[in-house]
Point group: C2
Chain length 213, copies 2
DNA sequence: AGGAATAGTAGACCGAGTACAAAATTTGGT
DNA sequence: ACCAAATTTTGTACTCGGTCTACTATTCCT
């Protein structure tokens, strides 16, 4: 028997094909201007099948979310014993940047990706929701460890706020036209500054948030 | 001529009436089980008029959002010169709690409010979006002050994460059946602990987040 | 090969939200 | 009080996302 099963392989292939065709249409004509019926048609499949694989239209575009959640879960779960989450998460962000991973935000591809997102409220809304799911995931994982419900929820939310801020910072600059390599070099400082704030606090003592080392 | 104009007053009255009638229906039968057509009918108004006042169905239930944004804006704008935002925001949260304001979360009314939210994904999603708008508002206001785009976005997101965590903590306990007065007393410590974490940082040094004073 | 699962299809259906043009109402000036 | 302009409200028809149901085709397992 083939390891994943023929059936399962076909399903994954179909899923990818639908998402790819959909993404292509979105990039060319905009998210709202493409109907699900069209996507189904272009993919040679029925509308029901599309919704079978993707519960919402938005998920056709933001289809890496589950992978991301799994990865973040691994970051938290597989960190060395006793290591603070923020340290593991900072290391992970450094890794994304070094690997030129799309999730670092500092990558050529975000231009096209964002141009679709920019003018679709529905899509942006779904993205915000996904960022919220990240916060919930982190909070849940940490609560499992310590049992401190409130503290971990707070920590999860702060962590999620930190990494989404880091990401948006890179994306904004690239979309604004900055050179990708320059942004990538600067992101190292951005990541460290963000996690420093998270770990040391926002003050009061040091100035609100001026950037002298 | 009456100051706000007759027309304007009537509009506000209509708006309130529609929202109130809608809320009543939602509480009785659940958000998803009530159609906009029904609401319009019950309010003696046409469907178009409903959408004239409330761009989305969800806004019929979460209609205090703009007020809240305005209030938060005032907190930031009207704070004493030189005072860190976190201090002003902490004071504001204390004030809400003392005034037994619904936005403190520690109020009898949240039980009904939440029960509707709980089983409507669309409604929860919109609420998350609103929380995101809070973060953006704060970030924008702070950026106006300092010009430090990245730092202020981070600060805005962290602040928003903090206050939403505080709110949800109270709501969760009350929904879980805790006595409202007890929750209200405990919230003082919750607020202070949250803002302490925000100001002092999450570590590393102190344990991840254990609660010994 | 054959029967149990499972994936996909077709088509009707529902409700949110929009477009548009006609009708009702407020307003301000006279 | 009356008229004309501006603006709100309405009815109707429409689009599109998403669900439901019953039917067909494929894959799986023995």
């Amino acid at each position: 028997m083939p390891q994943p099963g023929l059936r399962e392989r076909k399903k994954q292939a179909t899923r990818r094909m639908i998402a790819d065709i959909a993404t292509g249409l979105f990039v060319r004509r905009g998210f709202d201007a493409v109907t699900v019926a069209e996507i189904a048609d272009a993919a040679g499949v029925s509308k029901m099948t599309v919704f079978n694989y993707f519960p919402r239209k938005e998920d056709l575009y933001l289809d890496r979310h589950l992978d991301r959640l799994r990865e973040l879960e691994a970051v938290v779960r597989d960190r060395p014993a006793g290591e603070p989450v923020s340290v593991a998460m900072r290391r992970y962000q450094h890794g994304l940047l070094a690997a030129q991973h799309p999730l670092s935000g500092a990558v050529e591809g975000v231009r096209g990706f964002w141009s679709v997102l920019r003018d679709s409220p529905a899509l942006r809304s779904r993205m915000v929701e996904q960022e919220h799911e990240i916060a919930e995931l982190l909070a849940g994982l940490l609560t499992e460890e310590t049992g401190d419900e409130f503290g971990c929820r707070l920590l999860g939310n702060l962590l999620a706020a930190t990494i989404t801020t880091i990401w948006h910072t890179a994306v904004d600059r690239i979309v604004a036209g900055d050179d990708v390599d320059r942004v990538r070099r600067d992101q190292l400082a951005v990541i460290d500054r963000a996690f420093d704030v998270l770990e040391q606090g926002i003050g009061p003592r040091r100035e609100p948030l001026h950037s002298d080392g």
